[in-house]
Amino acid sequence: MNLKEHFEPVRENFLSPGVMVLLSLMAVGGAFAAARFTFGIGKVSNLNNQFPWGIWVAVDVASGVALAAGGFTTGLIAYILNREQYHAVIRPALLTAMLGYTFVVLGLLVDIGRYWNITSPIFNHNGNSVLFEVAMCVMIYLHVLYIEFIPIVVERFKGKVNLPGPFAAMNSLAESGLGIADRILGKVMWFFIITGIVLSCLHQSSLGSLMLIAPYKVHPLWYTPILPLLFLLSAFAAGYPMVTFESIIVSKSFGREPEMDVLTPLAKFMPVLMGFYLAVKLGDMFVRKTYVYLPDGSCQSISFLAEVIFGVIVPFVLLLIPKVRRSPGWLFFASTLFVIGILLNRINVFVVSYTPPYIIKSYFPAVGEIFITVGLIATLMFIYRVFVFIFPVLGARPEKMSPMILLIFMLAAGTVFHSPATAEMPKNLPVISEKVFPSVADAPKLHIIDSPLIKKYSDLYEPVRFMHSKHANVLGDCTICHHRMAEKADDRYGKKVTLAELRQKKKLPADCHSCHGKPFDPAHLDIPGLKAAYHRLCMDCHKEAEQTTHIRGPVTYSAMVRGPVARTLDTRAPTDCLSCHPKNVPDHSKLVKLRGKPDALSVTENCLSCHEKEGKSILKTSHWNWHGPSPYTLGHENRIDMGKATNTINNFCINLTGNWPRCTSCHIGYGWKDGTFDFSDMRKIDCLICHDTTKTYKKDPPGAGFPDKNVDLLKVAQNVGRPGRSTCGMNCHFMGGGGDAVKHGDMNSKLENPDKSCDVHMGSKESGGLDFRCQTCHKTRNHLISGRSISVPATEGDISCEYCHTDKPHIGDGLVDHHMNKHTKHIACQTCHIPLYSKCSPTKIYWDWSTAGNQKAQEIKGKDGMPVYMKNKGSFVWKQALKPAYRWYNGTVKRYVLGDRINENGITELTLPVGSIDDASARIYPFKLHSGKQISDAVNKYLITPQIWEGFWKHWDWNKASEDGMKLTKLAYSGKYEFVETVMYWGLTHEVVPKEQALSCTHCHASLAKAPYCGKCHQERPGVDFKSLVTKRNEDVQAMFEKYGADSSATYGNYIDFKALGYEGDPIEVGGGRFTKLPMVMKAEK
């Protein structure tokens, strides 16, 4: 076995052009590898969660191992079978194997994420893992290969050790080491040779087992339990073609003759091994009947066919021909085909066949992956060259052939295409509900759903304010929710409840928490916990994307809701989290990143750093723009520019233009001091005016919206929260018109904390009220706040009483309930339930600007302490607890717009509710009327927009104020002014009284106040006292009138002036309007 003298180091010009190409490829690959180690795998590869393995595994590792099979297969034939003529190729094959495996490991270092932990498998064993076995085998085999290579090192350096410089001292030591290695290795090399072959057999096959763990992901064309056998057989078959391929390339690149005397005999084994592999592979395909996938045209089937036909069958057939085996060119071609076939096979198994169930992003190797792979191969080739120059690996003798062929094939390797999944969009159909029968008068009103049982597990939202009576009313059947009742104390399942039992009050509905407790009670897994019970029950009706039509059928109109067009009121059940419970506001004391004494603008900047979306949404609101769409303003339905900021006027402070700094202290922004304010600048938003919870934030009245200098903005910013009555109300809306209760007849500072009789909704809990915050009714989304006021044209959503109370709000099945529910078609809820306005605080009902500036006195106070004259504003009239004015109203408003001609023959209506007795969509609503005397152009006959702030209040000259003001509104001013009477209608919806104090029948219908009461139409019935039915609340209402000092017009019998509303008289007596059946008595007489 002494064949050393046949090998010697190559002595050529080391730096050939090919080497330069190799070096440049190495440099590019190295750059990408540097990027990979600096920024992570994700930066340079297309590997993702769907495709965790790519070409680094398929080519660098799997193909690397397979193509290094030349090492053990030549070892097998040369040493085990002792065919010495093959010793010529054993050293190149060994070097290829050694370098090949080294680069498998280098490839792995690139591919595995925690490469620094690569030694982990040595300490952490998982005997079940195929990969563990592969790793161990590869690791040991790599060392075996190094040991097998030692004799070549020994041969090169033994007796010639000459270390440079300081290492020279170690020459003798190295020399003796080489000597020992030489002596020992010669005797034990047989052990390493056999171990190498055994290890190769093991891990070559096990590489195939790797993918067996993913039967549902690997394409059936490749997935077979004998995949490890196929891998082993293909490795056997690949060994000699690889040796041949490499030998011929090396010969060509060093200009030598191909070693055909070795390669031709070696080629005789190739078709045998390839044939065996092919037979098993095709046999497996036929046994598993996977050929059905072949014609499907997918990239898998194409790739499989390419692999089998061009990678196995063609070389197999070629190599059967003796001429091919003897011709260096043909032999090279056939060997190359098979090598590529193996490469393709490994890529197929590890990449192409891998079809995960969810493909969000398909895989194709990234430039970085390809270049790192190419760079590794180039490095391998370069080091191979270095080795053959240093060590006696090749035989002796010297044209050139580029070693690039391999690289070109690498780059052309397999592709994967996948189509992303798509979803379909179906239409949602509404569900028609069935009629149910109400009788739930006893239901408690409001139920605040708050339980420590829920809070303990998740505390994301504020408790739900559950409108119990509303739901009871709508559903009409308690047993829908109160479905079971515990019989005994520890009974968790209870018994089914029937409505009859509840009606007869044999049973009282049980609380939810009597059965539903903590979640996932092991003893009662089928009983949902309390939180789930609530949510499931609620969401049985409040379903996602399904519009629940009103349970009791269509409502013909609802003016406040929809405007003039009569249409179905669909109470769209809220379906998202926020419509039932607001989110808890996180503690902002840590979140606010401000220090010291921040100014207002920097507070906003800090808010926006997290809440940019909210900032953007503010820019679209009418609270910010002070104008918006005006769908309910008659004649201006399609405009989007109506509002205070542009073209409306009132008879309080008159108008905004020219008076900015004073007026905009009610604006939710900073610095709107003239016509140039930038409404697209989020940084000017005043977040705190609405979100302050400390009640210390105040705006400087003439400060153009900036806060008062004394406000501790840091403290306010750290304590932001949900707006409430103190911000919405106290900061703005209770103070409309420049002072408490000036504008709104139904809003004043008392509502910050009213008692129940002042406002049943907002009334404090202690007084028995419901303690609503503004948003309970004024539902808000993206800062768009629902609700309307007649005085402003813009709207961001409707509310009406019916949203909660339904159009049949009078729970019960008595005679009066029946009639009152019929009233809801013609009478707004507010009409009876707000018998007085400004109950709690006097409101301004008259403002005469003409007297402003006349007197010397700055201010004169009236009886009730309210000013009746102010030098800069004129004269006022204040009134408290007034009976409203009643008008038909269909939801639309006639509005005075700047430049409109005034009513020269009477009072100019700045806002006027539209509707009449003949208008089917109109109902009778209550209103506060505010009259005024304001300045008008005596020639042009339109209202003037005087400049008062920094104008009239300085020079007391109406003419100059008018001139300056009209210039800014771009209206012509004739130079002559007059004062004209104007009036505004203000809707009333707040200050709803408790139901016991709502108007009774006889307040309006005097005809019912005398015998026979209801007997006019109804027969006497035993047990029914008609008189008490129609008058039963009179005393309560009267007491309320007295308590608030109602004005004298508020008495029963003539509360509503029917004639003014278009009736001939009390409709019970004379009929008329829509009441074609009335009066019944007269009809009967006819």
Partner: protein, 311 residues
Amino acid sequence: MEMNRRYFLKLSGAIAAPLLIKGNTSALASEPPRISAEAVGCLVDTTECVGCRKCEQACNERHGLDKPRESFEEMTVLENERRPDETSYTVVNKYYPKNIGSLTWRNRPSFVKFQCMHCNDPSCVSACIVGALTKQPDGPVIYDAAKCIGCRYCMIACPFQIPAYEYGKPLTPQVRKCTFCFEYIKDGGLPACAQVCPREVMTFGRHSDLLKLARRKMKDNPGKYVDHIYGEYEVGGTSWLYLSSEPFESIGFPKLGTKVPPRLTEAIQHGLFQYFAAPIGLFAILGGMMWFSNFYKKNPENNTSEKGDKT
């Protein structure tokens, strides 16, 4: 001589084949991991889910994962099919019912929460080269980053395509997946998702009880569910079980058999390495052949080898 050579070649090929094929027989199959009777799981009733994404939020917060670009209140993200990834251990997907022609016969979309199924016999645990993934006796499949080398074989192995990887981290990427909040349930706590879920879409409890509950639900609501508890037998059973009113394939579940993938690989693995019989046997055979061919060569073979050397 020629005959001998062929004989040996055949023999060497034949050695490996039966060894490997033998591996398929169940006789050598390794024992599946023992699941304790107290093992827990979750039963997800997809008909209850409304896609509120609270589970995603709670999971994200409990595990301190990266905040997503869109907030958890953003429901439009449900329109795209998502998968759990390194920043979200669980996701909810929305599946619209498939229509037959123009007929929309079920108009409510199905919402399905996905996360690690915590298989009874997890492929990832079997696959993991260093045992960084382990199946806890009480159910969870958990991950130990200290052992991990980042080879991502678990991701290849997982039939549900769950483990995700931090491709963006250069030095300490981890495999991320649902932990079943094992550190919480160990102390009697609840998984974050189950705890926050407003409708108890997932019932957390003992695996055996959950199967009973699932059967009871199916019996009590005839026609509501498809007759299948997903996860009862899939890949040998999973800790997380699903009920659905739609066929599972149409709501994003892979169609998996009852075969346990690790059984095959472990059978091959243990078949090959039982008492190291196969490697030692192969070693002995090769050694014998080597000795035999050397011995045989000493007499008449010298001239052939010399001829080879000269050319």
